[in-house]
Amino acid sequence: MIYFDKVTKLYNGSAPAIENITLSIDPGEFVSIVGHSGAGKTTLLKMLFAEETPTEGDVYFGSQNMRDFTEKEIIDLRRNIGTVFQDFRLLPTKNVYENIAFAMEAAGRGDDDIVADVPHVLDLVDLGEKMWSFPKELSGGEQQRIAIARAIVNQPDVLIADEPTGNLDPINTYEVVQILKKINDLGTTVLLTTHNKGVVDSVGRRVVTMDQGRIIRDDNSGKYSL
């Protein structure tokens, strides 16, 4: 469902962030992308939610070339992709309930759906009791779980998690990984970037290893090896 076709991204004047990447991801896969900082993992993901466009090559989502997306289609695409980041990116002026509700409202969901789904998705990440707290009142692990709840509340086809455990302690890291696996088991394609060996090993699925903007290894049931 996602296909990178000989994609290269150049930022002004410097060496390419990613170079000649060809990568195919099937529906329902759980793909861990590993590599050192600056290997090009984040750039690769940014192209998927149209925050970057390739300098050369094409990215296909479903059967559509993302170069041809209109502004409207980009907005629709983003409603169909959940995103989780190292720095959580919650809305600081909205409480937990509103943060999740906002994603549903943006997708045009009705008030009844929102009232029903928000508590449900919060239970899924085990934070039902924090519904009315503001992000700054929560720990890092709790904030990340809220971010995951927001990412999956619209039942996206794809969940992109860019270093989701980068700011978390081992216990929270473990919990986040378990949640991601659960989401994948429910049928959502998950793309995870990380440089945490323990995370990759505990997922135990496909591992794509990147170095200096290139894919240097692609193992179907991989371990972290760099």
């Binding site: 939610f49 925050e51 502004e71 907005i75 629709d76 695409l77 983003r78 409603r79 169909n80 995103t83 990116r89 919650l90 809305l91 600081p92 002026t93 906002f102 994603a103 409202e105 943006a106 997708a107 045009g108 969901r109 009705g110 008030d111 927001r150 619209n154």
Partner: protein, 310 residues
Amino acid sequence: MGAWVDIKRILRYGLVGFFRNGFVSLAAVLILTITLFVIASLMIAGAALSTTLEQLTEKVDVNVYFITDAPEEEVLTMKASLETLPEVASVEYVSREEAIERFRERHKNDQLTLQALDELEDNPLGASLAIRAKETNQYENIAAYLETLQQSSIDGAGSIIDKVNFFQNKTVIDRLTDIIDTSRNLGIAIAVFLGLASVLIAFNTIRLAIYTSRDEIGVMKLVGAGHWYVRGPFVISGVLYGLISAIIVLIILYPISLWMGPASERFFGTFNTFSYYTESFAFIFLVVVAVGILIGALSSYLAVRRYLKQ
């Protein structure tokens, strides 16, 4: 999912955002209040200046004095022809009888003069026309027209003119014209400068307020919010800044104009800030509220647009 639900949500988030970003809202409201206060003060000062200038202009006129045996119908014909001139605002006819009346009235405490007048068998005063121009700088043309009348026809209408007092008053009228022109231009220049400066400051403050939300805007985009869904609440907050500031300004103008009233009346003659404020309240209200909302909404709109594009 109707547009109505979206509008409701945007309105709610705009309102909630206004109160949750309390400090930022306070700063924006304060700056906008100062801006709108400057604009309202400029309006009142402008009105004071133009009424005063108008009154000064009304005090200026050119008088044509006729010889004592000028026939009344010829004077009236000249009055009619003067009234057709585009520069002329009004022409007042003072007959010989009225002239002597006014003279007596003016000198009623001066017995000597009145006695001297009584000694005369005939009324020594001629009829006259008091001509008022629309603009002070048009008196020159009117006087020139009268002069050609006087010279061109010895037997015609011009021959009954005794004298035109424009040339005695010329320097005063010229100077007054200069003062009126200068103060009008200066007034406009100062108003434009102050108005522009305060609008820019308000604009920048709101931009800075939204700058603090730039990450938030990025997140909203990321979860797939449409442009208007991101922008709407900020614009609503901007409208609220404008509306609240406008109401504050209208409230504080009441005691200020009341307090300035007597002083302004002494200074300008008849202009009273308080009576102007109460009489023109609807107009001031409309301008202040409209400008407030416009600055608030437009600056929010433009500020968010920058972060939406990134």
